[in-house]
């Protein structure tokens, strides 16, 4: 079967239309030709993206419960801005692709979940432009980007408008916040923020608050449990694999645990709080696993995850920022091509060549 040894596009009808004198059972049907395989599996990019979007919803709903109107505003605006900017980019840059691939919706929702609930609309718009225009389409559109778009936008906003990006609403403040509202009194610092400022003794939130999301933080990162539910769905659908989250979270636990054991509880946070706090779960399950920007091999993913974990722990413990998940993932994104280049899988039969008849 060596017939179709070319990559000709499918769908071009090749045989002639039925001649007029030949009708009925012996008529020539118009046959399509194309290279094998002639069947295709059910999985498509929009299906994958839709599942990621759905998997993010439990955590988004928890934030709506705790932050009310503010969370709804941030998540909706972010998703709509990203879709709008994507639409413009697709038109202007004539990139093949469509809004219906759901990738911009996922970026938008993720960006919203990475912002504080107090984020004003212009901040969200700036984030959407950086995510879609700079991080995605300037690199060639879907599949071409080196850095995760939502994270690139978050880090851009964090270094450009640090105050806006670290004004954390207290949980339970569900009312609509008009522009200009005095936020003093209804905001609080995150556990990692307290740690960085050396005010660890003021920390009131415990592990159960971190699990449920009863604390200040970015819109999507507060409830570890809700994120786990979404992550379980993605693992079950085999959209993400276990290597990156396991290596990422495991390394953070190991490094912070070591620091805790040596430095003592006065100076360091317990490792289980490190694991549950901040954006670790959101980053480890939903952003480090972004297919486009992570390595494609099992071994590569383990190294990638461990690298993310190590950088996160180092930034949290000794860096200038309270939280390091975003920086860690972006830095490892930059290393992905190299990891892929050096970690090619062993081709079938190569190691055992000349093994001969042994058994």
């Amino acid at each position: 079967m060596t017939a179709s040894s070319n990559a000709a596009p499918e769908g071009a009808p090749v045989s002639a239309p039925p001649p007029a004198d030949k009708v009925g059972a012996s008529a020539r049907p118009t046959l399509r030709v194309g290279p094998s395989p002639h069947l295709h599996g059910p999985e498509t990019v929009p299906r994958i993206m839709r599942w990621v979007f759905l998997a993010l919803l439990p955590a988004a709903l928890v934030s709506v419960w705790f932050f009310g109107a503010s969370a709804v505003k941030v998540l909706t605006l972010s998703t709509l801005f990203c879709l709008g900017v994507e639409w413009l980019c697709l038109r202007l840059m004539r990139t093949p692709g469509a809004l219906s691939d759901w990738s911009a919706a996922v970026t938008g929702l993720l960006l919203g979940m990475n912002l504080p609930p107090t984020a004003p609309w212009w901040l969200i718009l700036a984030g959407a432009i950086v995510a879609i225009v700079v991080a995605k389409h300037l690199f060639g559109g879907l599949g071409g980007n080196i850095f995760n778009p939502a994270l690139t936008a978050r880090v851009f906003l964090l270094v450009s408008w640090p105050t806006y990006m670290t004004t954390w609403l207290k949980p339970g403040q569900r009312q609509w916040l008009a522009p200009g509202t005095d936020l003093a009194g209804i905001t609080e610092a995150t556990p990692l923020g307290l740690l960085k400022e050396g005010r660890l003794s003021e920390l009131s939130a415990g592990a159960s608050d971190l699990l449920l999301g009863n604390l200040g933080g970015s819109v999507g990162e507060i409830s570890a449990l809700a994120l786990l539910i979404g992550a379980a769905a993605l693992l079950w659908k085999r959209i993400i694999t276990w290597e990156i989250p396991a290596a990422f979270i495991g390394t953070v636990a190991a490094v912070t645990g070591l620091a805790y054991a040596i430095g003592g509880p006065e100076r360091y946070l317990a490792p289980h709080l490190h694991v549950l706090a901040g954006g670790l779960f959101l980053g480890a399950f939903f952003m480090a696993t972004d297919m486009v920007t992570c390595p494609i091999t099992y071994r590569g993913r383990l190294i990638f995850g461990a690298g993310c974990g190590l950088l996160t722990a180092v930034i949290r413990l000794w860096g200038g920022y309270p939280e390091g998940v975003s920086f860690a993932i972006l830095l490892m994104n930059a290393g992905t091509p190299m990891i892929d280049h050096y970690l090619r899988p062993r081709t079938f039969g190569t190691a055992t060549a000349r093994q001969g008849a042994t058994s």
Binding site: A3, S4, H40, V45, G143, M291, T347, G349, A353
Partner: protein, 426 residues
């Protein structure tokens, strides 16, 4: 199905050199009579599938999509299946006998070669070549492939059920021809009836073992089957199964060997799976080589709906046909009549680097990476990523969520590399 009144027999039905016609227009041939002799060592003779008169010798459309030297035989009054009276008796191989256990290895191999037997799994590699391993490559195991090569195909399953005795005799003959003490018949676990029946039939010969293996694609590929049954890994091309001491033969081939050696029957018919939603009565049919597709369609109740694509072989590696006037050849394991719904058009989208192609690749290659190199024309990089080792099973393109042409780019890359090599040597 009954023998057709007209057959078109291509002379290139096997890997290797095409056969050379030894009949001329006007010759009357008996059923089974040789009509072409092998064009080299890696080649096979071709036999007349029906008795009749040779009406044409020359190029005819081959199912592979190219013109091929063919012999057309038509039944005539007095000869052929239409009139049994006065037909010459069917031609049988001289020297064949049920007493094969007394024959030498060379005699068995010669008989198999004379019978024009080639691998019936789909690759159609001449069987006698596989039975003549070069000196210095000891063979200790015969693997019999009963793990249907591709989805949709069930012809091997039917052969195992309906011709169990012939299969087992064939395995014993092949074992003797190779001089190996042991044979394993690998059958996918979803065919317990075939496993049970083969097990019963093999009970008397303790050198044959029937092993159930995992149901997956591609399990019926030589390298995968050897790995599943023995744990041995065949080295990359030009590595062959005999490099790890194994020879693989299909169950259909084994049955054909038994018929040739014990009854002198040359290979001029085979079992073909006819399936797909567009055919009225999907079935497995035993057809003469050279039977035009239209005869088979009629025998299977005609077309239920206009097919969008007709595939010869399996859905993963088979070739789509341009018209229905081509004949069945020795390699035709299946004829699939797909509707539009079964094989919709696909437009490739951007690669999202999900890595599934690499995870699915049975040879642990990285199809997305290779395809990308071929696309940008960097053939050296593609070669460094082991493009030549790909067996083109199509799993990567099947699984790709972006519908990318992965295996297709690999084929293109291989063809370009081949061209480049020829240009350089010229």
């Amino acid at each position: 199905m009954p023998a057709p009144c007209r057959v078109v027999v291509p002379l290139r039905q096997h890997l290797g050199a095409p056969a050379k016609a030894i009949v001329a227009v006007g010759d009357r041939v008996a059923e089974g009579q040789p009509i072409a002799e092998p064009g080299g060592f890696v080649s096979a003779p071709v036999h007349a599938p029906i008795a009749g008169e040779v009406t044409f010798v020359g190029p005819r459309a081959h199912p592979g999509g190219f013109p091929c030297e063919s012999v057309v035989i038509e039944a005539r009054d007095g000869v052929g299946p239409a009139a049994t009276d006065g037909a010459p008796p069917p031609w049988r191989l001289p020297g064949a006998s049920a007493d094969w256990e007394r024959m030498t290895r060379a005699e068995l191999t010669a008989l198999i070669r004379e019978a024009g037997i080639v691998g019936l799994g789909g690759a159609a590699f001449p069987t006698h070549v596989k039975l003549s391993p070069p000196a210095g490559k000891p063979i200790d195991l015969l693997v019999i492939n009963g793990a249907e090569c591709e989805p949709f195909l069930t012809c091997d399953h039917r052969v195992m059920l309906e011709e169990t005795a012939a299969v087992v005799t064939g395995v014993r003959i092949l074992k003797r021809a190779l001089g190996v003490p042991r044979a394993i018949i690998g059958v996918e676990g979803n065919k317990p009836d075939a496993i049970a029946r083969l097990g019963e039939a093999c009970a008397l010969d303790d050198g044959i073992e029937v092993v159930a293996c995992r149901v997956k694609y591609p399990q019926g590929a030589e390298k995968q089957l050897i790995n599943a049954l023995t744990g041995r890994e065949v080295p990359p091309p030009p590595g062959l199964p005999l490099d790890v001491g194994v020879v693989v033969q299909n169950v259909g081939t084994a049955a054909a060997v038994a018929r040739a050696v014990t009854a002198g029957l040359p290979l001029y018919e085979r079992v073909v799976t006819v399936s797909g939603s567009a055919i009225a009565r999907p079935s497995n049919v035993r057809v003469r080589i050279g039977t035009p597709l239209r005869d088979i369609i009629d025998f299977c109740g005609g077309l239920a709906s206009p097919p969008a694509k007709v595939v010869m072989g399996g859905p993963m590696m088979g070739a789509s046909l341009t018209d229905l006037d081509v004949p069945v050849v020795k390699a035709t394991s299946g004829l699939l009549f797909f509707t539009r719904h079964e094989c919709p058009d696909s437009t490739p989208h951007a690669c999202i680097r999900c890595g599934r192609c690499g995870e699915a690749c049975p040879l642990c290659l990285q199809p997305s990476e290779i395809a990308l190199r071929v696309e940008i024309g960097d053939l050296d990089a593609a070669q460094a990523l082991h493009i030549q080792e790909c067996m083109e099973c199509g799993t990567c393109a099947y699984i790709c969520p972006s519908n990318r042409w992965l295996v297709q780019q690999v084929r293109l890359g291989k063809a370009k590399l081949h061209d480049r090599k020829q240009q350089r040597s010229a």
